[in-house]
Subunit: 421 residues, 2 copies
């Protein structure tokens, strides 16, 4: 079966935003066993949108549209899709109630244009949007299935996962099943070298590596009649990867992030954790607090951006700051120790570095970062050299801090040893 993706939005045609929706949808559809031969982008123009939809229907079995479902005048996707399919728009009572309660909950009145969002093409299946007011839609026609999704990725992605993927799966396309082996503390090229033979000899299943900030994901994919068969194909391959990468693997579960792996390890060992952050400025704490249930392990953290804050809050010695500077092994070590003491935490992670764009010197260039981790009094400090923008350096530092925390805990509690990092 073929799928075609149409992204609607003038901001795409003007180049104001990058079309991440198309990449996301294309990747997901490939994973579901659909062949995608065409993508289109059109603006909020009724005639051109209609032409695009009619063209897509004429050559593809499934047409996914994103964008143009909002409450404003120039949101035309639903009306145009209905016209292409020869359907009338009718008020959906369920939808109307949801919009009403969405605004009531916020102590606001829905404006007239919000009600437009409750109008649905006859025979359409409404897809719930827990992250916004614009519901999605499924329209099964004679020639093609039309799937309408909202434009904002934070709304589109959950709607695809929860409603569209199961719908497409039920069409019985055969499956392409993937599993991800997630590594940290190893570079992409190192990881690739270790599995070159598996990547080269690939047919079914296939093996591919993807670099993420501070992580490497190895994706194994099998094509089979059903999920059970696909899993059977993947099993020996995943086992082989586990043998090759050992403790570098932090998870093989889709929904386990690096921060979740760290929090799971903390909770399993009944440990409390704190963070002392300079250049990351709260990102490390924020990543940990992404994890539901983190309150069992995380009580408090410190953003100590100035030298004075490092001294007053964490007890970093004035002499250390003067002699070695704020971005130094010594300061990182005292930050972690101080944070552990102050928060009475079993584990403390501290980050200090130069995120730029200014402030670098020959000796201490932008991108130099020290991360330390104190586990029950035992401190490890590592030096890192990251590159890229201020944001990229801060994000790399945050991921490296999570990877180091995981490693230090494993070494302390499980007597696991790591290769060179």
């Amino acid at each position: 079966m073929t799928v075609e993706i149409i992204c609607v939005g003038t901001e795409l045609l003007l180049g104001n935003i990058v079309n991440t929706n198309a990449a996301y949808l294309a990747g997901k559809c490939a994973g579901l066993g659909l062949s995608c031969y065409h993508q289109q982008v059109v603006g909020d123009n009724a005639q051109r949108l209609e032409d695009a939809i009619r063209l897509a229907i004429s050559r593809s079995d499934i047409v996914i549209l994103s964008g143009g479902l909002g409450p404003t005048e120039d949101d035309l996707t639903k009306e145009t899709a209905a016209r292409c399919m020869g359907r009338e728009l009718v008020m959906d009572e369920e939808c109307r109630k949801k919009i009403d309660s969405y605004f009531k909950k916020r102590g606001m009145e829905a404006t007239e244009n919000n009600w437009k969002q409750a109008m649905v093409p006859e025979g359409g299946i409404v897809l719930d949007n827990p992250n916004g007011t614009a519901p999605g839609l499924l329209l099964k026609g004679e020639q093609a299935h039309l799937i309408l999704l909202p434009g904002p990725p934070l709304e589109l992605v959950p709607m695809f996962e929860e409603s569209v993927a199961p719908y497409l799966n039920a069409l019985g396309l055969g499956v392409i099943y993937s599993q991800t082996v997630k590594l940290c503390g190893i570079s992409e090229s190192e990881a690739e070298t270790l599995i070159r033979d598996l990547v080269d000899g690939q047919a079914n299943p296939t093996v591919a590596t993807y670099a993420k900030t501070g992580e490497v994901h190895i994706r194994v994919t099998a094509r089979a009649e059903n999920e059970k068969e696909a899993k059977k194909l993947l099993k020996p391959l995943v086992k082989e990867l586990k043998t090759r990468f050992g403790s570098y693997i932090y998870s093989t579960e889709e929904d386990v992030t690096l921060e979740r792996a760290v929090v799971d390890l903390l909770i399993a060992n009944k440990l409390s954790v704190t963070c002392a952050e300079s250049c990351t400025g709260g990102r490390l704490s924020a990543r940990l607090i992404n994890v539901p249930g983190v309150s069992e392990a995380y009580k408090c953290g410190y953003v100590t951006y100035s030298n004075k804050a490092k001294r007053k809050i964490l007890g970093v010695k004035k002499s250390t700051l003067q002699k070695y500077g704020a971005v130094s092994k010594q300061t990182a070590e005292e930050m972690a120790k101080g944070a552990a003491r102050q928060a009475k935490a079993d584990v403390a992670v501290a980050v200090t570095g130069l995120a730029g764009p200014d402030g670098g010197t020959q000796e201490k260039p932008v991108g130099l970062v020290y991360i330390s981790c104190c586990v029950k009094g035992k401190v490890t400090v590592k030096e890192y050299h990251f590159s890229g923008s201020r944001e990229k350096i801060r994000e790399s530092s945050t991921s490296a801090a999570l990877a180091l925390a995981r490693r230090c805990m494993l070494e302390y509690f499980s007597k696991v040893t790591f290769g060179k990092e």
Copy 2:
């Protein structure tokens, strides 16, 4: 004049890469005064590529293709474009020499398929590629101009800047110039209601609203002979928007984010700031520390996730937590006051709320968030109801905290008053 962008590549259809070329080319073309109504993505398939080019030629004056110019068998763009334009491929001597010297310089021999890259459609203008072996091409036909560019952004971007932009400029197209008016503390539908007349009556310049988490952007766009004329057209419109939205506007500059606007305001008023975060868990500090130069205003911040941390670090009263709970107006107020006192900061922003997914009750549902801002001892607390995932609620809370901080500072220092929020 209209332009259409066709990106060629199976990796785009599989979702392996994000189509940054389309965004780049679209932005550049808009800046050059071209109207882009269509973008297409097709794979390395001769028939589908031919259909795509023929469709584009039939409806657009200029067609830009990226990708498929490489030396391998499945690179088909040049051959297909030549066929669509009815041209033969001939060996370009200049090209052949360049490829030869490219490989000689690297001490390598050009392989047979490299010579394919020196074949050029009759009448085509070869565009130099200093960053790779695949030259670009300009083909002027009766119906349309065809422009062929290599796929790798590091080759495409310099070639566009150096060769294509001057070529397009020489066609005398005029410019399309945009400006963004950025608002916070107002919903998209409210904002749209206030400018319905401007959106409806649009021709040149045009007005459109875009929702971002916690913000609304209004984009005004004018078409004119040159940038100066375009700016002249936009001026009265931007002035009108400033009158209608007043203090809700935090910037009209492309590169000013909400956090940057807050930091600018802090620095302009010589104020120091601190944050006390529960559910946002460091995100608010991290957003502020996104801004280079923030160290002038930001010294330290606190992530007080547990009740005990709220008491010990911020001095929130035990009785307050017992009587009203951690997620309450009263706790938020004491958090801000305590943080200001502890950090000796002029401004303190505190966030406490239920980010979910669990822990909500009938009385205090997931999404309930209190944000308080203390400016020189004067505390404002607001109640918010956000929805969506844990991540969405935390991101909405962070943006709302920045908006509230901005508002409280403006009200305190500039005696600015806001409408209902």
